[in-house]
Symmetry: D2
Subunit: 274 residues, 4 copies
């Protein structure tokens, strides 16, 4: 089964590019399931209900988030009603919305998607991501309730990302890192059959600082004195993510490869999709 | 001119792979200049004089480091005498050793190499990397004393890496990130002509946590209680780095592409070297 | 009932002063219960079994710890067998030893003592201290199983300390902060009857950096280059802690005042003990 | 000569209490010089020009700040014109305003006041505070251009505060810590004659979280989900600071003692002022 995961959409540039390209990708490559991280879709900070819906309309099955999930306060309102909207599962019990869900892919497979946040260098400091995933997999094991399991692990430190992936290796289809906004090239299938990449990269303008206009971030580094607000960069976006091929028999990964489409990075499409 | 930059060698597995492969790479691709980051070469922690020399013997022109530079105390002794050994330049004045140097490449070009450390999430907290590079470029501008300028920017946060690169864009040949030990796929030539990649990746065993045996790091994440020491992983290493093509006329970059050689990641060699 | 809490003993100087003075304090002021934080008792790093026993012999009813608890590896061995040794309760389930206990004071009162670690700026990142204390108080509520409840909240940030104390205000006898090694003067009885102080201070040499010889810490701040090890300071120690008067009827605090004995700080003994 | 230093005024409650009590304190105790930290005076976040002026009118000679200095954007406008307004001196060169000044006390003494920020756990990451103070003392040594020298060291970690004080011991009259908003009881005169306290405490409502209404900070600790804004607490403020007696001959400290006035903490006035 073919899955596409797109990293953090940043601002108008990023979300527009996703909305424009995603329907064609789904059609051309007969994708069964699509996950998009939307934590920076609204000007770089959070996501609105309108953007969330438009992303579903473009073909996403699930929208995941991260530390920026509540930057737009309206997310607190729509999160509880939207099955396809995920915030990190390791928020303390009682947080609005949900951290994981079981969805039906276009090929009929039941796909567990979970959004979990790391703790190293991250704010806010959520509950233990390792225990969180352990509980989720106990409740919904791959091969029983779920035919595939995809985790958006939203974290900064590569050590935490690697150890998290080793911890669930053989028990989920894929661990896809997000948050750093730069795609990594370390995609591999781990020993137990779980696909892994440290970071999917962002969908945004790569002539920027993390998709944000670089002027004010650079000013802060140089002077430590704020001069203005952080604004999303407005140049054309490059889409970054990964394509997965997941065994319909075992739920484990048969292939993982990056997808990059746009003006700034080396373009690539998973060869096993062709 | 052809430059190869190899990311953090980790442990015996990583350094041995570099020593074995580097002479062939230099010969086969007629490389003019080679930089290798060696901060984790001795069991993951620092570098010894013997390892440093063996790395030069294998063909490295310069060995750079980072936050782990003094983990092997003997580095404090040999650093001051070794022109080709760099520690981060933004250590306070008076630190042992040097942070940059001007070297002659095999094509006769004078190459400025600078090793600078970021500050976000990094220990120890060194001097301002932006001011540091500003001073270095004032003292040794590209196109005057230097025919090429390569910066190993050893840092964690992608925002700091991107802003640093934009800051020196057009004034150096390349900004190569190190420290996260995972290669990124965001290599590009910035608007001003500077080649950039967020992280070169490591030269080490990618079935690991940052090149270290994954058992104890994973134990720490799970239990928070130390059970043993951190040891370098012993599986076969994958070499990660970037190839650069630098204009002999302008000193700016004409091409940047990843190099990955080994069993775990997708292998690639810069196409423009063939 | 009269309780004495002594802050982090640091090194030989600190522990020796505690051992020498504690018996006299217990006798002279007819103390019912004594808690001592011992996380830095062994040269500044952790605690040995011998030091732990000697501290009990000097009159401590319970020895608490903090982030340094496992610095001496032997603590992993004796912790599980020692009822009167506490490590932070919010270590993940399965950690060696215990995080709280119910003890009988010399006046017959049943005293719950709990050792909990904060998360802001702290390593390792343990479980949520707020949820941890909630569970403890549910299992052993003040006025039912316990006649008094004392929490050693080992944390860095004053915001977390204050919020933690407000959270349990009226439900425990006292929240005593430790870890910063400097006594605060903000002791007060909160609105609900819980005694509070941000930090008890350390029992150690105050002509130092946190009880450690100041030469190497200062060297690190100045040069960022290690020159030697951190050693405990050897000058005479000042004892720092707080005295509590806890109602035998309600278990809430009737008085809190600092105790400081030694050569460097303004000496004081709780007036309500005389 | 008699100096009063008052810690961070927080919100209306804190600043009003300072304005009401300060004139009487100056008159009753014949104070020669007064420094007030104002970084949280405007609702907890920064300071306005009007508040700054009212604080001078109440008798402050200098208003210092810290990490919150630019929270009110108007501070960027008035800082450059106000000699008696200090922001941390270790902002990069070119920052608005000034970090130190030489002022004439009511007894005619020339008093150097310097505001310097620590780096451990602090944002933004400013220049090296140790080098900063070294340069200031080289330019304006105690006993030559200055008859007294008072440093507001705005920092989180007690290790950095202690080491900073030891570094300048004998070269300044006093190092007064600010930022943690809880007064410490570790005031002492160091071996070289410099008065020291880790933190002066705040001037604000101590039934709070750092002077802020405790509801939202506590909500964030419990749920990690924002519910509202941080607002200054509105209960009556307790003034916290220290009194200094500085030798007019040597510029070194002869005495340091806390001042605490208000409803929540143990009240005290320096005995040597009576
Ligand atoms: Fe993001
Ligand atoms: Fe994020
Ligand atoms: Fe490294
Ligand atoms: Fe590093
Ligand atoms: Fe301690
Ligand atoms: Fe501690
Ligand atoms: Fe403050
Ligand atoms: Fe502050």
């Amino acid at each position: 089964m073919r899955v596409l995961f797109l990293g953090d959409m940043v601002g108008r540039s990023g979300r527009t590019a996703v909305w424009q390209r995603l329907p064609g990708l789904i059609r051309d490559f007969r994708l069964d399931f699509v996950v998009v991280n939307g934590e920076n879709a609204a000007g770089g900070f959070g996501i609105t209900e309108e953007i969330f819906r438009a992303t579903l309309n473009a073909g996403a099955d699930v929208v995941t988030t991260g530390n920026h999930v509540w930057d737009q306060r309206e997310a607190l309102v729509f999160a509880p009603h939207e099955e396809r909207f995920l915030r990190p599962a390791n928020f303390p019990a009682g947080a609005p919305g949900r951290g994981s869900g079981l969805y039906t892919a276009r090929n009929g497979a039941r796909v567990l998607v979970s959004n979990i946040m790391g703790r190293i260098f991250m704010v806010p400091d959520l509950d233990d991501p390792f225990r969180c995933v352990e509980e989720q997999l106990a409740a919904c094991p791959l091969g029983e309730q779920a035919d595939a399991a995809i985790i958006d692990f939203h974290a900064e430190a590569t050590s935490e990302k690697m150890c998290f992936a080793h911890f669930v290796d053989g028990r989920v289809s894929a661990v896809i890192g997000t948050h750093t906004h730069q795609p990594t090239a370390d995609h591999q299938i781990l020993n137990g059959g779980t696909a892994y990449i440290s970071d999917a990269g962002m969908c945004g303008d790569y002539d920027s600082s993390l998709g944000m206009d670089k002027e004010e971030p650079l000013n802060r580094f140089l002077t430590k004195v704020p001069r203005g607000r952080f604004e999303a960069a407005t140049g054309p976006a490059t889409l970054c993510g990964v394509g997965l091929d997941i065994s319909e028999r075992t739920g484990l990964a048969e292939a993982i490869a990056p997808l990059r489409l746009g003006p700034r990075l080396e373009e690539t499409i998973p060869a096993f999709w062709r």
